[in-house]
């Protein structure tokens, strides 16, 4: 259901202010969403003054700097720092992206950092993605073939392989799904752009023999047709993919009975 306001226990309060101690002239204010599961308080926004003269170019560098030099209690996920693993997905300057590939120069004014939108928060910038993973599992993201000969290689032409371009690169960072208002309001039933892009990836795979069953499975008022081409997903995708177009292609296959 559409719920514009946050529940009472989720409303964000003003938090601590960490003044700069380095004496640097090149400062930026960074506002970060904090929530500590152990103290029973509401979430808060802590503000940090960060010395930009000694900070590399990405938002993740700011977070590392804060954790290393200012406030070690800050919690966030990160791993590869190269835009490959998808761990550091968060909302920066009002837009979802990977902290490790988003330059802080692109954000005007104060840098506001929140966890991915409309998720249950585990701590600070860490959102609970279990629901999304369950949905991902529900589309059975693996090759299904009923062919008897399991020892032979399944040949795929270059053209057939090209159909997977723009779909297989997805790193499941959840930037797209958590940017989607439809997913916010119907996230329990609507599969969301990330999972539908993966559903599409298996539907168009020439080696897969369950195409019909896969299409039938997603052809559902709530699972698929909650997409209203708001385009938040495509504009958020840090890998430059287009989930909205993949969803449109699935709808088109169903509408033209191209099954």
């Amino acid at each position: 259901m559409v719920q514009i306001n946050l529940p009472k226990d989720s409303q964000v309060k003003k938090g601590k202010y960490f003044k700069d101690k380095t004496g640097s002239k090149n400062l930026r204010k960074v506002n970060i969403y904090r929530w500590d599961p152990s103290d029973g308080e509401n979430p808060r926004i802590d503000s940090y003054e960060v010395d930009m003269d000694n900070c590399p170019s990405k938002v993740l560098d700011i977070l590392n700097k804060i954790k290393n030099e200012i406030d070690p209690t800050l919690a966030y996920r990160r791993s590869c720092a190269h835009g490959v693993c998808g761990s550091c997905a968060m909302n920066m300057g009002g837009k979802n992206g990977l902290a490790c590939t988003t330059p802080h120069e692109e954000i005007d004014g104060d840098i506001d950092i929140y966890p991915l939108p409309h998720l249950k928060v585990k701590k600070d910038l860490i959102g609970d993605l279990d629901g999304l993973y369950k949905q991902y599992q529900s589309i059975e993201p693996w090759l299904k073939t009923n062919s008897k000969s399991q020892t032979n290689e399944i040949i795929q032409s270059k053209e057939e392989r090209a159909k997977l371009d723009g779909a297989y690169e997805c790193i499941m960072c959840a930037c797209c799904s958590t940017s989607c208002p439809s997913y916010w309001w119907n996230g329990d039933k609507y599969l969301g752009p990330a999972v539908l892009l993966q559903a599409y990836r298996w539907i168009v795979d020439s080696r897969d023999e369950e195409r019909k069953a896969r299409l039938k499975k997603v052809a559902d008022e709530l699972k698929l047709y909650r997409c209203h081409t708001i385009m938040n997903c495509t504009s958020a995708c840090p890998k430059g993919l287009n989930p909205a177009k993949a969803i449109a292609e699935i709808k088109k296959m169903l509408a033209t009975a191209n099954i």
Binding site: G94, P117, K252
Partner: protein, 127 residues
């Protein structure tokens, strides 16, 4: 003891862009138009009942407030039509590149204003 996990902020913090604005406006104008069409039906049925109804409603529509409402509805219908055409094109699978959605979104917004002005001028000069 574990606390209830809070919900992270969503619509409060997410930045708007042209496509999301057009999408939400499409919904809002859709609701307005349904109400408007119902009222227009009511108007027609009231006219068919008696002549005094016609005059009262005419007076209302010719007031400043009435004109504002008519102009507003002209915009909301123009917007809805253009945005629906955009949706139809997208249903065919075209126009999903980010820069194209920006252009078509702008065409819808500017087009709806231009159409409103055009209808206003046509109504003023020819009817």
């Amino acid at each position: 003891m574990e606390n209830k996990k809070p919900l992270s902020p969503h619509i409060q913090i997410y930045r708007w862009h042209i496509s999301s604005l057009v999408s939400i406006s499409h919904r809002i104008t859709g609701i307005i138009n349904i109400i408007a069409i119902t009222l227009i039906c009511l108007w027609v049925s009231l006219i068919s009942i008696s002549e005094s109804n016609y005059e009262t409603i005419n007076l209302l529509l010719n007031s400043k407030f009435g004109k504002f409402i008519i102009l507003g509805l002209t915009w909301s219908f123009s917007f809805q039509i253009l945005s629906e055409i955009r949706h139809l094109i997208m249903d065919l699978g075209y126009g999903f590149e980010l820069y194209i959605t920006k252009i078509t979104g702008l065409v819808v917004i500017l087009g709806s204003i231009i159409l409103t002005i055009a209808f206003y001028l046509i109504g003023k000069n020819f009817i």
